[in-house]
Symmetry: D3
């Protein structure tokens, strides 16, 4: 009864900025630099969702990758793609900075109840060629 | 006297939307779909600038790639990176949609007067993994 | 009236083999090596379609990339994806080897009549990390 | 005595289909969609093999990467490259679906007895740009 | 109090060779093959540094990625970029082979004392498209 | 009689420096910066060779890609891989800087006489993620 890990990659494009309302503009720029631009900036995000489980003896699937893709698209991608991460997304609290680190935790919480028959193992989000974050539910 | 082509790649992240002010919201959404989201979305852009010329007999350079990089950064990347392409950029006219096709033409015009000692040959801009545009000054 | 080039990338996965029916097995293996395996092999193909034209003054589009994507999917990807290129595809003649070079010519012919309002400029097909082919309608 | 991980990447191209013989065609298509195409389809697979161990004090190697490459090629790549994964491979049982999840387990079993002087840690197989699987011997 | 992982990627280009001084040329070539070329060879290295911690409630940062980038550049990249790994680097002992496995351990030791406010979790170094190594401080 | 373009990608790793013997150290460093490091640095080069021709009616090949690969390896890769581009290569004159621009011209001259049955069209050499050069025999 081997345990294998299956990863599905999806993509979305979104706008955001990093800005703490309790701070004045100078402190926001000092902390966040260009990321505090008041007119927003954006990214092409690549999202990798990894689940863990025993491949089904008949189908060979830990999970049907098309079914996993549909869950990710319904619960996450449709809500983030071509959206403003500070303003438009019901599962991102307004007082939470939409950093890569916070996004992987929020995406985990969004997906966790929907993954059945196997175990959600990892959320990875690539924000740029140089920055990515991961969350394992710890 | 061989003619070689040198390409330098730079990156920037920006927000934008596609929206024709003369049209109502319904027509904008019909034409531009998700790209018309009023709260913006964004991309990681990869910009490739290609110049053409004869390598210098002493240095072997068509152009010093570090000098080319500085020109691209001063004239283009600094003005686009972490900016809103509809609102923040002096060389993008407000009545022009910031599509990939229009951006390559505008970036060409921005760089053309600054490239000396060799010839600007091509601007390529990758907007997403699936969409890119090129301009050759035609 | 600038002329820009827009490229759309799509993907498909297919099986094929290289095999000349007029030759015996030994000659096929001599010519095609592992590619002549009688039980087929396959690839993840990445297809890039480039069109050329003047960006529309209102929309900034040479062509609506979503519309171009739909044409490529309807005319090419749906017919090739998860198919056998020797057996399953109406626009690949049975006496033509499904090499990368022949495929770019056949895909051009398939797409050419469907592209309106701009000009089909290039078909590029990446077969593996080491082999690709291009066709410009010459 | 530090413990480091060394990863070697190899590639192969193969045909396969997903098809349960005990099911009729309708049920196979319902479960596997396009992957059930009776005339096969195929992929460019990228295989990453990770071993774990203490770098040798003289050579600095956890394992000689050229030796590891030879083992992977002899035991796995030569048997899978340009082959049909349902029909041609001695170490893939005929009643097992050649899914990415099952393949990483089978490749692990194939390589495990051949890795000496360090420990096999992970098999990763990338099937497409959107699907990959991993196995850690659990 | 979720624990997330943040990864920053940096790059450097360096020369090296693999050569044990206690061995004669024949034994070095037998062991290291082309890597023993006495006039050196080189690589484009991609370095990924992963830290682990709880995102700050105000900033959403496990660590400020710009600050992490500065640490990596000051302590590692500036010392390795456009350098000879056998001759030029103070933190690589002269009797240690600059293999990918040894480099990840040495880079870990170089960075470990400088990372504060979160925990250094992983060093990954990609030497070529086919070889990479990782170190987790074990 | 369609004309298609076939591209084959190969890789090599090499050391080099940029240094004009007629200049003193200060002038070399002023011009070439880090690239003038006297102890060398190096790169993973990716070489793309494109040929142009009519696919053979029987084989579908502009050129047999395995044959093209063998020519590139015999004439170029074997002479550059794990070598010092300033010291070790018979077809790189000692008074020529091994810049990307000069290398594409020299590789063209090396390959041109060996390509038969089709036409050599382009040499592209990627030196880093940010710099590449091309030569078309002009």
């Amino acid at each position: 009864m081997a345990i294998a890990y299956l990863t599905r990659r999806e993509r979305f494009n979104a706008a955001h900025k990093l800005w703490v309302n309790e701070w004045d503009a100078a402190k926001n720029v000092e902390m966040f630099g260009k990321c505090a631009n008041s007119n927003w900036h954006g990214h092409n995000y690549a999202l990798e969702v990894t689940v863990k489980g025993t491949p089904d003896p008949m189908t060979g699937f830990v999970i049907d990758a098309k079914k996993l893709s549909k869950i990710i698209n319904d619960e996450v991608v449709e809500k983030l793609d071509h959206k403003n991460l500070n303003l438009d997304v019901d599962f991102i609290p307004k007082n939470i900075q939409p950093t890569t680190e916070n996004l992987v935790v929020l995406i985990w919480k969004q997906l966790k109840p929907k993954i059945t028959g196997c175990e959600l193992f990892k959320i990875k989000l690539q924000e740029t060629e140089t920055i990515s974050a991961e969350y394992y539910g710890e």
